[in-house]
Structure formats: structure tokens, C-alpha cells
């Protein structure tokens, strides 16, 4: 009798060029090494999208993989990864989003969807249990994401069917385009320009529903782990602010530590008071929402009641506020409306905000004049310009056509020294808070495998460990010092990266498992309980070490992919601004720049801990062997990347 497992057991492949639809069984050895979610996506990308394939070529794949635990009742197991070769970085790219789509794919009977080729005319894919169809989407092309979702649900006569779609931005191959779940106010696979790849295939949307069971191997173990999880979050001080304010809560931290990244990453202080989390909560909040299966409830919709944008209801997450600050905006209604615009048009708020801020600095420094900005007064803080330019980017109109390429390419087009303030890593716009003053944070933005990204690593572990724990786990008490510590930080970074990757493999939300107020709770949720849930659902018998090793394995697959594309140590760097220009706060202190020496020391310790070549930053044969990635060794040797 086949063992009960929460895997659906099949991979669905669709070729839009020749309309070939192919179903294959999930290979158990593949599953045991890569588990699911980001694990599947990264390996399939490596095996199929080689350096000769460009992001907008037909041969590029879009790989949609719900995390291994998606479709089960595991708390906060709701995230789906979409992997592709990124039009922004021309290397590994992925985005993660929570929503019902991933679970619907599994209920339809598939653990993974691979889309290849290019349709002649706009199409959408329907997955309805065993029935898979490629359907005409000409009537949807050009429509906003919420309208697309609504029309699909009407056409398919099912208000509960799950959809993912692109907006006008993805259709026009805007490199900042995102893929939206269930309209405009649920999950977003935002980063790396994944929406543009979907647009390049003339694929407007994918609708999925299913009636099949997802089985559970051990109900007792599952219930026990569930109870343990609830008990842990009941006492973790991290959780109540999340439930009370949603992601707006991060404002207080940014203010106190002066790391806004305001005005294109130059100012650490900013007139933030109008954007106080209390303002969002009392004046605009509709109610607290949850992602599927989540008890933390940190999703928020906000409604503008009066004024120019009255009636707008938009999902808003923290980074939208942060990137608005990067553009000098501090009006909450403008921020809500900006989120709405990006969601409707299918744009990544991080990339869009970062790129507009870049354009604003160009204007400030006279590199762009009014004749270049189509008459817009592109000053920091100018609401009209901010919103108008967002629309222009989605429409590829005027200056928007240049900015739609992302700030890195835009700076190459504009020239005149603007490259200096295109704030990106490997082509991906910078996210989260300013790295100056926090040495390991700076390195973490540089080492992420998908362009600048704080979520790849969450090196915030340093914030919650005691010096004793730091010594035990990372070899030095210094690793617990956020500002001055250097020794042990490299090891801390590797640990954090592998740890967080587990969440992306299993489809678990980082806020629910990978953030905490204490190291004990953090490990308990993110490693111990995650492993227990995985074993209970799938019938596997993975140890915590093996689970951790899986995270390490997948990170190395992505690193090998980027290496194959030509990346090495020179690409593991953050913009010069952070090394040279002191962060401007109310007062300037010695932590106002990233110290080059500290950066290099941490980076080298990190490479060493990873088992990579310290000079080139490239994975070695030994580590790839240890992680059972033989096929990757052979491939890299063949291409001259490995001895």
C-alpha cells in the first residue's frame, strides 16, 4: 500500500509554443534532495535554463512550485515560489507569495507547474483537476489585475477558483513586473521581474482549482506539533505587535535606528510621523486579514475614506511604506494609493519605488530635466510626479520606458554618472533598511542569490542572540554585537541563509516561523517544528540536520547557477554609496558608512564557512560533493567553472 503523503505526486509541464501538455510522476530521489517550493524551482531552473537562454527567450521557464507543506493545515503554510531566469539580474530569479493558488494546484493533483515556450496570442491556462486547457485571453489582455481576476472567476463560473495573473506592466515586459494572486489584494510574487517573463510568453493568467485530497501521514504527530506551535507563539513577544499593527509595525524600528533609506538611500532620518502605524490602524484599516492557515493575522487592507483618492481599498505591506519614504513621500493616502496602483498594474513596489527614487535623484542633480520627465517636477516628495511616473512605468511611456528597465539599466541609458546612485545589487533594487552601521546586514544584501534581498538571509539573528549563544553557535561573542562585531558574523550569515531557505522550501511564512524575540523560539519554530510538520505530513523521517542541509543544498544550487552565468566575488558587493557617503541622520556617527575592511572580513569568513573559494566566491567541488550535487559538479567542470 502506498504510504500516505501530502505530496500530490505529479509535475505538470506546458509548452505554449506547441501546446504540448505533459504530466510526469514526481521522482522520489528528487523529492528527497529538494523537498519542494524553492527547492524544486531552483534545481529545475539549473537543469533547464542554461546561459545561452535569455530571460525573454521562449526557452526560459516559469516554474511555479507551492512549498512542500502547502495545501495542508500547517499554520502559515501558504507560500508558493515562482522561479525563472530574471530579466533584472540575468541570473537566478524567484518570488514568493502567499495565496490560495499553490494549494489549489496541489488539490488539482500537481506539486509543480512548468511553463515553457511562447503562445502566439495572449492565452491563459486553466487547471481543473485532470483537465488542463490553454485558452484565449485576448479579452483579458490590457486589463488590470483585479479586473482580470474578476472576469476569470465569472467566465469560469467559480468565485473560489484561484488565479495568478499579470497586469499591463507584465504584458509590456516591464522588468519590474510582478505576478499577482487572486486579483490585486492578495499575495504578490514581486521580485526579479517574474511578471515580465510571464508577459514575454503571452501568458496572461493561470487559473487552478482541484477536488483531490491532500493526505496526511501521521495525524497525531501533526496535531501535537500544531499545539506546540500555538503554545510557542502565545509567549513569543514578537507576535502581538504583528497581530496588532500588521507589517506597519516595522516603522518604529526604522525610526529608532535611523535606517530609513530616505531620498534614495541617503538620509537615515525623515519626517515619518504621518506614517505612524497607529495612523494606519485607526484611520484607514478595514480589518486584519490572514494568509491561508495563518494565526498571526498580519495582512492588512486599507481604505481611503475621503479626498482625492476616496474609495480606494488596497492591500498594503511595509516595504511599500519604506520605498515611499525612499522617494520622500510621507502622506499615508499617497502610500495607500501607490500600493493600489502597483497592485493593479502588476508592479513590484520595491523595484518601482527604488527606481523612481533613482530618477528623482537624477532630476535633483540636473541629469534629467523637465524635457526628459515629460514635464513632471520630479522632486523628492512630489505626490503627483510619484504616482504619474508609476503609471508611466507600467505603460512604458516617455521616461517610464527607460525606468521600466530597472534602475541599473536605466542608469546605463541615462549615463552622465547616474550609475553611482542606481542602488541595486546584481541588478535587483535594494530592499529593507539602510545597511550602514550594521556590518553583516551589508554583506547579506551582497550575497543574496537573487539580487539585493534581506529575506534571503534575515541576518537579524544577531539581534536576538546572547553573547554566549553567539559563541556557541558562531564561534565568537562578537557575533552578537550588531554594530561593532565582526568575528563570527560570516558564520552567522551562512546559518541564517540556510535556515530561512527551509521556510521557502516548505512554503512557510517568515513572519510566522523565521522571526522571533529569542533564539530559542526561533530555532523551535523555524527548524524543530518545521521538520516535525514536514515528517508528519509527508511520512519522511528527516532529522533537523538533514533539513538544515537541504537549505544549504538549495542555496548552493542557486549560487552554482549564478556562477554558471558568470557571477563571482566581484558581484557580491553593494553600491559604493554605502562605503563612501555617510548616512545623514540628525547627527553623524562613526557607523555612518559601511567599513570596507569589516565587509571583506565578514565576506571571507562567510565564503570559508560555506566551503567556497575565498578569493573567487565560487562553490568548490568538496562542498558540492558533500551536498550530493554531482550533476552540478560535472556541469560546472564542463563549462570550465570548476577545476
Amino acid at each position: 500500500m502506498k504510504q500516505k503523503s501530502s505530496y500530490a505526486g505529479k509535475i505538470l509541464s506546458i509548452n505554449l509554443s506547441n501546446r504540448d501538455i505533459h504530466v510526469e510522476e514526481l521522482d522520489p530521489s528528487f523529492v528527497s534532495l529538494f523537498l519542494g517550493g524553492r527547492g524544486f524551482g531552483s534545481k529545475i531552473l539549473y537543469d533547464n535554463v542554461t546561459p545561452n537562454i535569455k530571460p525573454f527567450d521562449e526557452e526560459n521557464l516559469i516554474i511555479l512550485t507551492p512549498g512542500a507543506l502547502v495545501g495542508t493545515g500547517v499554520p502559515a503554510a501558504s507560500r508558493t515560489t515562482i522561479t525563472t531566469k530574471s530579466p533584472l539580474t540575468e541570473m537566478h530569479g524567484d518570488g514568493h507569495a502567499s495565496g490560495t493558488w499553490g494549494a489549489s494546484l496541489k488539490y488539482a493533483g500537481y506539486d509543480c507547474l512548468i511553463v515553457k515556450g511562447k503562445a502566439e496570442k495572449p492565452v491563459y491556462i486553466l487547471i481543473d483537476d485532470g483537465r488542463v486547457e490553454i485558452r484565449n485571453a485576448s479579452h483579458l489582455w490590457g486589463k488590470n489585475t483585479s479586473v482580470t481576476d474578476k472576469l476569470l472567476k465569472e467566465e469560469l463560473n467559480d468565485p473560489d477558483i484561484s488565479t495568478v495573473c499579470i497586469g499591463p506592466a507584465g504584458e509590456r515586459l516591464v522588468r519590474l513586473a510582478a505576478i499577482m494572486h487572486d486579483g490585486s489584494d492578495k499575495g504578490v510574487n514581486a521580485r526579479c521581474g517574474v511578471g515580465a517573463v510571464m508577459g514575454s510568453k503571452n501568458l496572461k493568467a493561470i487559473a487552478a482549482r482541484g477536488t483531490k485530497d491532500i493526505n496526511l501521514h501521521d495525524q497525531e504527530a501533526y496535531k501535537k506539533a500544531y499545539q506546540e506551535y500555538l503554545e510557542t507563539i502565545a509567549i513569543d513577544p514578537y507576535v502581538p505587535p504583528a497581530t496588532k499593527y500588521g507589517t506597519c509595525r516595522f516603522m518604529y524600528h526604522r525610526v529608532k535606528f535611523g535606517i530609513h533609506g530616505a531620498k534614495n538611500w541617503r538620509y537615515g532620518s525623515f519626517e515619518w510621523e504621518p506614517l505612524d502605524p497607529e495612523v494606519f490602524r485607526s484611520d484607514y484599516q478595514v480589518k486584519a486579514s490572514s494568509c491561508p492557515m495563518c494565526p498571526i493575522m498580519c495582512r492588512r487592507d486599507y481604505r481611503i475614506q475621503s479626498g482625492k483618492y476616496a474609495g480606494t481599498v488596497a492591500k498594503l505591506e511595509w516595504e511599500c511604506i519604506a520605498r515611499s519614504i525612499t522617494c520622500g513621500i510621507n502622506n499615508p493616502e499617497i502610500v495607500i494609493y501607490f500600493s493600489n496602483l502597483c497592485n493593479q498594474l502588476g508592479l513590484d513596489v520595491e523595484g518601482t519605488g527604488g527606481t523612481i527614487a533613482f530618477a528623482m535623484e537624477c532630476y535633483e542633480k540636473g541629469l534629467l530635466g523637465k524635457e526628459d520627465t515629460d514635464g513632471l517636477d520630479l522632486n523628492f516628495g512630489n505626490h503627483e510626479a510619484f504616482l504619474t511616473l508609476t503609471k508611466k512605468i507600467a505603460a512604458r511611456e516617455g521616461l517610464g520606458d527607460i525606468l521600466a528597465e530597472g534602475c541599473y539599466r536605466a542608469s546605463k541609458i541615462i549615463g552622465k554618472g547616474s550609475e553611482k546612485f542606481a542602488i541595486h545589487v546584481k541588478g535587483g533594487e535594494m530592499t529593507a533598511g539602510d545597511p550602514r552601521g550594521m556590518p553583516v546586514r551589508a554583506v547579506s544584501y551582497a550575497t543574496s542569490t537573487r539580487g539585493s534581498d534581506h529575506l534571503r538571509s534575515n541576518p537579524y539573528v544577531e539581534e536576538l542572540i546572547t553573547p554566549e549563544e553567539a559563541e556557541k553557535w558562531f564561534g565568537s561573542k562578537e557575533a552578537a554585537d550588531i554594530y561593532k562585531g565582526v568575528k563570527g558574523k560570516g558564520r552567522l550569515l551562512k546559518w541564517s541563509e540556510d535556515f530561512v531557505t527551509i521556510g521557502d522550501i516548505l512554503g512557510l511564512c517568515k513572519f510566522a516561523y523565521y522571526r522571533s524575540a529569542s533564539f530559542e523560539y526561533l530555532k523551535k519554530k523555524g527548524l524543530q517544528l518545521a521538520t516535525k510538520f514536514y515528517n508528519a505530513c509527508t511520512g519522511s523521517n528527516l532529522s533537523e540536520e538533514e533539513m538544515f542541509k537541504t537549505g544549504e543544498r538549495i542555496f548552493n544550487v542557486e549560487k552554482a547557477y549564478n556562477t554558471r552565468e558568470g557571477a563571482d566575488r566581484k558581484d557580491d558587493i553593494i553600491p559604493l554609496r554605502f562605503f563612501m557617503e555617510p548616512l545623514i541622520k540628525d547627527k553623524i556617527d562613526e557607523n555612518a558608512v559601511v567599513d570596507r575592511g569589516k565587509f571583506n572580513t565578514i565576506l571571507e569568513e562567510y565564503y570559508k564557512e560555506r566551503g567556497w573559494d575565498v578569493n573567487t566566491g565560487i562553490p568548490t567541488r568538496e562542498i558540492l560533493e558533500r551536498l550530493q550535487l554531482r550533476s552540478i559538479i560535472q556541469d560546472l567542470v564542463k563549462r570550465g567553472k570548476l577545476a
Binding site: 509567549i235 502581538p240 496588532k244 499593527y245 509595525r249 524600528h253 536576538l464 546572547t466 554585537d481
Partner: protein, 101 residues
């Protein structure tokens, strides 16, 4: 002659403010009082739940907490840091080190 008491203002951030029921409080403390004394004062004022939130089960304050005195951060992981003396008019903030993104 009795020494003049010091007045300090404490700002509590979530979830401490929800447990305490207030965001701000002014306190009068003895001259020579340290940060450690202030914390003991707050714990005795707001009870077990407040204490658990700050200390969990240990005697040391959880490292995720940040204490600022007038915008200067206290090295909470250094046990001697709690011996820092307070002055009249000091503004103290207690915030969870919730880096986000």
C-alpha cells in the same frame, strides 16, 4: 536635606505598551538610580506579564529588547550596561529590535 528626585519619561513600544496599558509614563526616581533600577520599578508596577515579556524565564533581559536613553542605545547584551546612571529629564525608550522588511 532630601535630594531632589529625578524625573524621567519612558516610552513603551509594542507589545509592552499593550501590557502596561499606556505608551508613555513619567516617573520620579531617586538620584543615582540606574537603568536596572528603572526596569525593576516598571516590572513591579506592571506585573508578571510585563516581566515575562522582557525577561522570559531568565534573570537577564532578552537580547531582542533595545533600550535607548535619549537616542543612545544601551548595549543590552553587556550585563554592566544596566548599571548606567540616569539623569534628570532623560527620555528612555524600550523597543523590540524588530528589524523588518
Amino acid at each position: 536635606m532630601p535630594k531632589k528626585e529625578l524625573k524621567v519619561i519612558v516610552r513603551l513600544y509594542p507589545p509592552l505598551n499593550d501590557i502596561a496599558g499606556q505608551d508613555f509614563l513619567s516617573l520620579f526616581i531617586d538620584p543615582g538610580a540606574t537603568i536596572g533600577d528603572l526596569l525593576s520599578n516598571l516590572v513591579s508596577r506592571f506585573g508578571e506579564k510585563f516581566k515575562k515579556c522582557l525577561y522570559e524565564k531568565s534573570e537577564k533581559i532578552m537580547p531582542a529588547w533595545c533600550i535607548f536613553i535619549n537616542e543612545k542605545i544601551i548595549a543590552i547584551k553587556d550585563p554592566n550596561s544596566l548599571q548606567e546612571h540616569l539623569s534628570d529629564g532623560d527620555k528612555i525608550s524600550i523597543i523590540l529590535n524588530l528589524a523588518g522588511g
